[in-house]
């Protein structure tokens, strides 16, 4: 029986060599998607600390980073810039605190990304909008890594390249490329220790103690956490679906309400913020404006007495398309059919 099996296997191998069986085109993509899943899982499973270089718009900035997880799914992270004025970000599960010593400001956001991990089914749908392939192997910060490329199938999203640690899946180098194949933003570890034990000192804020008396700009989520904002998007960019809709106050504007809608294609996300013109601080001069920070484009315009801010790690046209088709539901309902 054993011999027979081996014989059949050998026969199959021989035939496979002489008459190659049609290999499904989806097969290499499946391997690449599996690598992405490994990457997504790494941020929830792997401890690491080191320094990384952020590059955008011709400028580089080096930061120290530490990331610890516990078996209960808790995450504790710290980021501190090493170039220019010190700035620090502490993320504890769902809360993100930015300490900005130069301006003596503390920014607090109650919702981190832990509630929105890149889930398996989202990764599987990535193949609909990106060609996902495994590329060459490489070495970053002394660690062997595997390049994974996501090439968009349209011009609504950017190409992404990740070189992920072959053992743990941790992304060691991440690049975002525009339609001309130019790198517009990159993250690269320059020193890295993977898998160290929890070290409280590495994630303890250096500024929390001295920040008493600093200006605190806190964003709050309304009690009615989610719900219908009363706004609709007539023409959603292809492949983007609504992740959630919630109401919040923006940092430094307590007591105000801003609707926050989030759309994603599984990797890139677009946020839509809608607030009455009366509460928009000096940003609403009525003229549409387009800005960028790294791979993120930010488009602002006024719609029906509201200041609308649409931003996402997408090409400008994608956020603009979404912003242009945003309407209050009442207007839509009033339109003749």
């Amino acid at each position: 029986m054993v011999m027979l099996s081996r014989g059949l296997f050998t026969t199959a191998l021989m035939f496979g060599t002489v008459f190659p069986l049609p290999v499904s085109a989806a097969e290499p993509q499946r391997e690449a998607l599996a690598m992405l899943e490994k990457m997504a899982a790494a941020s929830r499973k792997v401890n690491y600390s080191g320094t990384f270089v952020y590059n955008q718009g011709g400028q580089t900035e080096t930061s120290r980073i530490a990331h610890f997880v516990n078996p209960a799914g808790g995450v504790l992270e710290r980021l501190e810039t090493l170039d220019g004025p010190a700035r620090e970000v502490i993320r504890t599960n769902d809360q993100v605190i930015c300490y900005l010593p130069l301006t003596k400001t503390v920014l607090i956001d109650p919702r981190g990304s832990r509630q929105f991990p890149v889930r398996l089914e989202q990764i599987q749908t990535l193949g609909q909008h990106y060609r996902v392939t495994l590329e060459s192997t490489d070495r970053v910060a002394g660690v062997d890594c595997q390049w994974v490329a996501l090439q968009p199938k349209d011009n609504l999203r950017y190409a992404r390249r990740f070189c992920a640690d072959i053992k743990t899946g941790l992304p060691l180098r991440a690049r975002t490329l525009n339609e001309k194949n130019q790198v517009i933003e990159s993250f690269t570890f320059s020193t890295l220790q993977i898998g160290g034990k929890f070290d409280r000192d590495l994630v303890r804020s250096r500024y929390a103690a001295q920040s008493k008396g600093w200006k605190v700009e806190r964003s709050e989520l309304s009690a009615a956490d989610s719900g219908d904002s009363g706004w609709v998007v007539g023409q959603l960019p292809a492949g983007f679906g609504k992740l959630m809709e919630l109401r919040r106050s923006m940092p430094g504007k307590p007591g105000t309400t801003t609707s926050h809608l989030v759309f994603s294609d599984g990797l890139a996300a677009i946020s839509v913020f809608i607030e009455p013109l009366s509460q928009a601080k000096g940003k609403a001069d009525g003229k549409p404006a387009l800005r960028h920070q790294g791979a993120v484009h930010v488009y602002t315009r006024n719609v029906a007495g509201h200041a609308v801010t649409v931003l996402g790690e997408t090409p400008a046209e994608t956020v603009m398309q979404l912003a242009r088709s945003l309407e209050p539901r009442t207007v839509v309902a009033a339109q003749p059919r």
Binding site: E61, V118, S264, F273, L311
Partner: protein, 170 residues
């Protein structure tokens, strides 16, 4: 047409330029095209067209300095911040605007606006992006928290939120 191009490329000196312009006659359309080309040329070179064009126009049209003013004023009044092309826009103008649309990270905003305003508003196209320089960090912070990219790359992506913070203060 060639003279307009030569004028635009600064191949003629100030006096020849004026002569060439005068030879174009009193055709408002030709004059307007010349002005338009200059505006677009300045935008391409990343100069502040509002200043440069006004200077060039007044230099070239010293003998009749008021010609352009009444034409451009009402157009500016109805300016929108979008690129727009009239149906009659020349192919080269389309190519120039197309080039700008592809170069959103290299051309500053105001000359592009002005280049756009030189055309009659018809079709909405792309704005030119300028660096955020910390102006929208509050929105960036709220966005980072919900983006799958943050889930993939951890707290590192928050560098965007605090990057350039020092330049603007709050």
């Amino acid at each position: 047409m060639e003279e307009i191009s030569a004028l635009m490329d600064d191949e003629l000196d100030g006096n020849d330029a004026r002569q060439a312009l005068l030879r174009l006659g009193d055709s408002g359309e030709a004059r307007e095209r010349w002005a338009t080309y200059h505006l677009i040329g300045d935008a391409l070179r990343g100069q502040h067209a509002a200043v440069d064009v006004a200077a060039k126009v007044s230099l070239a049209l010293k003998s009749e300095p008021t010609v352009l003013a009444p034409r451009s004023a009402p157009r500016r009044a109805s300016r929108t911040m979008t690129f727009a092309l009239s149906a009659a826009a020349s192919l080269s103008a389309i190519a120039v605007v197309g080039w700008m649309a592809l170069s959103t990270h290299t051309v500053s905003q105001s000359p592009a606006e002005i280049a756009a305003s030189a055309q009659a508003p018809a079709v909405e196209a792309q704005l030119v992006s300028s660096p955020a320089n910390g102006a929208v960090n509050d929105y960036l912070l709220a966005h980072q928290g919900v983006s799958p990219s943050s889930g993939l790359q951890g707290v590192a992506t928050y560098i965007r939120t605090i990057s350039a913070q020092s330049e603007t203060g709050r």
